[in-house]
């Protein structure tokens, strides 16, 4: 039996009819066309499918869509809602050369946002721990860690200026 669920994705409300066996990843990609959310392993290991659900980084491949009823979902598309001005995290990934093939990038950036929301000034170890569920086969991680560290600095500087 299908279930009609209402969820909020990147600030917009959606009502979709889902089969219980559909994962959140399938619904985001196939029903809502948010293909920035990737599907890698499908088993919770790689982090390519990471989205924020009510502010928490989760693997959309291991979350049932029916369980997203009433939840706030943020995908990489929601990081730069205008489609033009990128989020600081995205800018730093580009500037620091933290993107090669790009398959892991959306998940990495969502994990980075989850970390920086909880801990605005993480140490290198804390950054690496926060990325323990995100695999990258290209970059060797060093530049990703650098990008997140300088994104943190820029976000902190910006919030100081705003005070």
């Amino acid at each position: 039996m299908k279930h009609v669920i209402t969820l909020n994705v990147n600030g917009d409300p959606y009502t979709v009819s889902v089969d219980p066996s559909q994962t959140l990843n399938e619904v985001l990609r196939e029903e809502l066309n948010l293909t920035g959310v990737k599907l890698g392993c499908g088993s919770g290991d790689c982090g390519a499918c990471t989205v924020l659900m009510d502010g928490r980084a989760v693997s959309s491949c291991l979350t049932l869509a029916v369980e997203a009823e009433g939840k706030d979902i943020l995908t990489v598309e929601g990081l730069a809602p205008s489609g033009e001005k990128l989020h600081v995290i995205q800018e730093e990934f580009i500037d620091k050369g933290a993107i090669q093939c790009g398959f892991c990038t959306a998940g990495m950036e969502m994990s980075a946002l989850h970390l920086l929301n909880k801990n605005p000034s993480p140490t290198e170890t804390e950054i690496r721990e926060a990325l323990s569920g995100n695999l990258c086969r290209c970059t060797g991680y060093a530049k990703i860690v650098e990008a997140i560290s300088s994104a943190a600095q820029r976000m902190n500087d910006a919030s100081e200026r705003n005070q």
Partner: protein, 294 residues
């Protein structure tokens, strides 16, 4: 890896969940975070026709700490919530550490401590320290409520003492005795993401320098986490010197029942049981010493 079809229910009360378990038959499955269950379904290891999610039961995710009653972890409290809870970090640091040692950020934001226990993997990260700390499983079923010490809960890989249609509603962990210390260490081939090859947890109580009481549990070296009774005997009533710790490690290695699988060989596991036992004993002793009034 798509999931095969199933019915989905999200009851609002425990009694409703119990009724569903009774009416939907023995193949219906309870789900908390789903991080174990959905993976088994994706691999085709189980094909439940019906999933009953516990996440919509209000209050079931509560974590409560009380000076006398101790800690209660609700069935749907997330691993990440247990790892970060201020009262747990303060009064049960090793419980927080074990939750934090489980999987990765995303899985800890979905999976639960109680699910980790109910899954009954002999290699799971959370059971050993809770067994060492005398945790009690809170159970509700068609016959009413009952409590079971966690060290009587595991019956084999994937098998628990739960009767049909019974649900674990939470876990109660008594306060640590005064002058007690705890520790947990595990090893796995590929860091956190991998299941453990070996784990050891201990709670140890001192009187002066003498070890009055000790509970040691070894994981991933038998069908369930095993109690290291002979190793405990080696330590009880003595001062924990290097020599005693080493002897206890050797006893624990002797008592463990490791197998060779893709995570490690039986020989490696046996040697590591000795090493980890020594390490957790010394660390728990250190904690107990620093907690004693000078």
């Amino acid at each position: 890896m798509r999931l095969s079809k199933f019915d989905f229910h999200a009851p609002k009360t425990i009694s409703e969940a119990i009724e569903l378990l009774q009416s939907k038959g023995p193949d219906a499955r309870l789900m908390a975070g789903g991080t174990d269950l959905l993976m088994k379904m994706k691999h085709g290891a189980v094909k439940p026709p019906c999933l009953i999610s516990l996440k919509s039961v209000p209050g079931l995710n509560a974590i409560r700490f009380d000076e006398s009653a101790g800690l209660t972890i609700g069935a749907t409290a997330l691993l990440s919530e247990v790892a970060e809870h201020p009262d747990i970090l303060r009064h049960y640091p090793t419980v927080a550490q074990a939750a934090r040692a489980t999987a990765n950020v995303q899985v800890r934001n979905m999976g639960t401590v109680v699910g980790n226990l109910c899954n009954a993997s002999p290699a799971a990260d959370n059971p050993p320290i809770h067994m060492a700390m005398r945790a009690v499983v809170l159970i509700e079923g068609p016959g009413g409520k009952r409590e079971l010490p966690l060290d009587e809960f595991f019956r084999g890989p994937g098998v628990t003492a739960l009767l049909p249609a019974e649900i674990v509603t939470g876990l109660r962990v008594p306060r640590m005795p005064v002058n007690a210390g705890t520790a947990y260490h595990s090893l796995s081939a590929r860091g956190k993401l991998d299941c453990n090859a070996v784990g050891a947890a201990v709670m140890l109580t001192l009187k002066g320098k003498i070890c009055e009481d000790v509970r040691l549990f070894i994981s991933a070296c038998g069908p369930t986490p095993l109690r290291g009774r002979k190793a405990e005997e080696m330590v009880r009533g003595k001062e924990l010197t290097e020599e005693i710790a080493a002897k206890a490690g050797a006893e624990a290695a002797e008592e463990s029942l490791p197998i060779t699988d893709l995570r490690a060989s039986a020989d490696y596991r046996t040697e590591m049981v000795a090493v980890l036992t020594r390490r957790v004993l010394k660390e728990a002793c250190q904690m107990a010493l620093t907690s004693q009034p000078a």
